[in-house]
Symmetry: C2
Subunit: 345 residues, 2 copies
DNA sequence: CACCCACATGCACACGTGTGCATTGGTCGG
DNA sequence: CCGACCAATGCACACGTGTGCATGTGGGTG
């Protein structure tokens, strides 16, 4: 029993005016004389008045809140994204409602229903599953992060990174170092972005006149969890190593971590025996040994931009999709291909 | 302009009844005859009705939402906590409102004001700064995570880990391995928990009749950021190494990561030359080389329990504080103290 | 036939806030 | 001195939902 906090009616009674006057005074309306305004504001602070945002939401029909839907919070990349969103939302007076679907279609539907029921003003979705056909109310701003699915509707916008270009860049880096047998390890739990990255890899290989089909491995697991990514890298590397690959392009940094673990088990040295490139530039990539060469994907910035885009849409300003250009960070996990000392089995 | 979604009035008109009947029918009230109930429900789904939760919140005075205040989202430990909270909140029909103060007192006040204005039903705070004197409305459930500050009020509850016992255990582990000169590296940005962990370390040292005062280092930086923790470990290790320490107890895993980096720069081998113990058991601790010996602090579980405690408080059920017992996970970053081959400077 | 009761439904208010319109009191100009 | 205009404030409604109470209707019983 919260005891019901005080409202403008209480203030009105205390000041001997009507509640309308209080409402106007608090909003600094010029209709109210200066002294009455001051008096009311003083009484309000004295009584510890805190405006009821749900009542305001009901009367004007906006809640000044946005829903953020994400696959999982534990993944450091998503955590960065959420951080960026929150950081941009607060100064604008918006609150963020957070929900995590764990790649579960039903769960996702429930989350969206909840957001709809709460009448969020906008929606930011950074989840890989297919965008639900019955979107939120048409006209509600919807920004997708890393899920630019061929722009089917005019109402949905996207902020994303150029996955294809990133993977292309990563592969070209390995090619420039002299690697010829280069593998790709991906995950099926993020279908769309995985496909784009794989395609970037294949494109670079094809341009160099190299075969790639035999060196692609994609984990079938559908659980979108950093742990699952690590397991994927760890389990899929051995086959590629056995096939003589000297370089690996990974779907993301967590997969690369798994590759590192597999290498230790196989007693392969990184980068002497095997060069590894990651994707995302998650914090962890600088903390492992050797430090990971990776494609930078600025999570916090993507989140911030998505939020700003949402705000612009709420103002009916025109916005255009944002495609971030990836940046290859060369660190210590890649080196020139080893000379013909092919003593490995 | 969202076009104003349909309300129970619209359904009432379509069904030729009053809005009260619709309201009762949708809530399955036995007051309404079965056939009318079915008819109304059918019309509702046909029209795509989605109840307005803000109106419901205004009328009954609960929002079925809880505010979560956290220092930073990027820190993997906090991310785990948030994940646990969210996971427990959804099945109970609660939404979580997320905000991050970055150890900024003013920002924290603003966040709390926002939560108050939004009339959240409960509050979960996992931020280290001092609890603001003017808490939320008295009677509002408030659960603190890892901030059990001497239980000043009867209204605030806590879920936390036994920091002292954890650090004690970590230190005893090193002592059992024969280490005598053991250092502690902490951070000032999380005052309370850092003090408790330091005390556990000192207690273990004192019990073994060893000096500890000279081997304690605490980073003065107040930015609560995983990056800052890494920097702290990296910057503070060299002095302790120079003083001949063979074992280090770290405030958390991120500090340990920093220690690892410093060791590489100093060409110290872990664990041969230096044994390192972390705290938290963040995912990253299993991914670095060597895998980190650390004290497990189950973030997701703490979050889940905090949420369940909040729910119990909302039901006016009695709850008691929860103090999780830490568990030492011995991995590869600790080993017996090196024999007298003291060739180090 | 009258009365009572159960059942089904509508009326009206409450929740807290914002705002269009009416009302009042005062001042100024003609 | 009277009308007109302006400044300041109150009235009343709206937003969408839930619920106490009143209303109405039908059937059964005395």
């Amino acid at each position: 029993m919260p005891g019901r906090s005080i409202s403008i009616h209480d203030i009105a009674e205390a000041a001997g005016v009507s509640h309308s006057t209080v409402s106007r005074a608090l909003r600094n309306s010029p209709l109210i004389s200066q002294d009455v305004r001051d008096n009311i504001r003083a009484i309000a602070t004295r009584m510890g008045y805190v405006p009821n945002l749900v009542a305001q939401s009901l009367q004007g029909s906006r809640t000044r809140s946005i829903g953020v839907l994400v696959t999982t919070i534990s993944d450091p990349f998503f955590a960065d994204v959420i951080g960026g969103i929150e950081q941009a939302a607060r100064p604008a007076g918006y609150s963020v409602l957070l929900a995590a679907t764990h790649n579960d279609q039903e769960e996702e539907a429930r989350c969206l229903d909840s957001f709809r029921a709460r009448r969020v003003d906008g929606l930011i979705i950074s989840s890989s599953s297919s965008i639900p056909a019955p979107l939120a109310a048409p006209g509600m701003p919807l920004v997708l992060i890393n899920n630019h699915s061929e722009r089917r509707s005019d109402a949905l916008h996207s902020v994303s990174i150029d996955d294809r270009a990133g993977a292309l860049q990563a592969t070209q880096h390995l090619l420039a170092l002299g690697h010829r047998k280069i593998g790709y390890i991906g995950v099926a739990s993020r279908v769309a972005s995985n496909d784009r990255r794989r395609r970037g890899y294949e494109e670079a290989m094809a341009a160099a006149g190299l075969d790639s089909a035999a060196h692609v491995r994609v984990s079938a697991s559908m659980t979108a969890d950093p742990e699952a990514d690590v397991i994927a890298g760890r389990r899929l590397l051995p086959e590629l190593a056995a096939r003589g690959c000297t370089g690996i392009v990974c779907y993301n940094d967590m997969v690369a971590v798994g590759v590192f673990m597999a290498c230790r088990e196989l007693e392969l040295r990184v980068p002497e025996d095997l060069s590894v490139v990651g994707f995302d530039d998650v914090a962890i990539s600088r903390y492992i040994t050797p430090q990971l060469t990776t494609v930078r994907q600025p999570g916090a910035e993507l989140g911030r931009i998505a939020m700003q885009m949402t705000l612009a849409l709420l103002d009916n300003k025109p916005v255009s999709d944002f495609l971030a250009q990836p940046l290859l960070l060369v660190r210590d996990s890649t080196s020139p291909v080893p000379s013909p000392n092919r003593d490995k089995r």
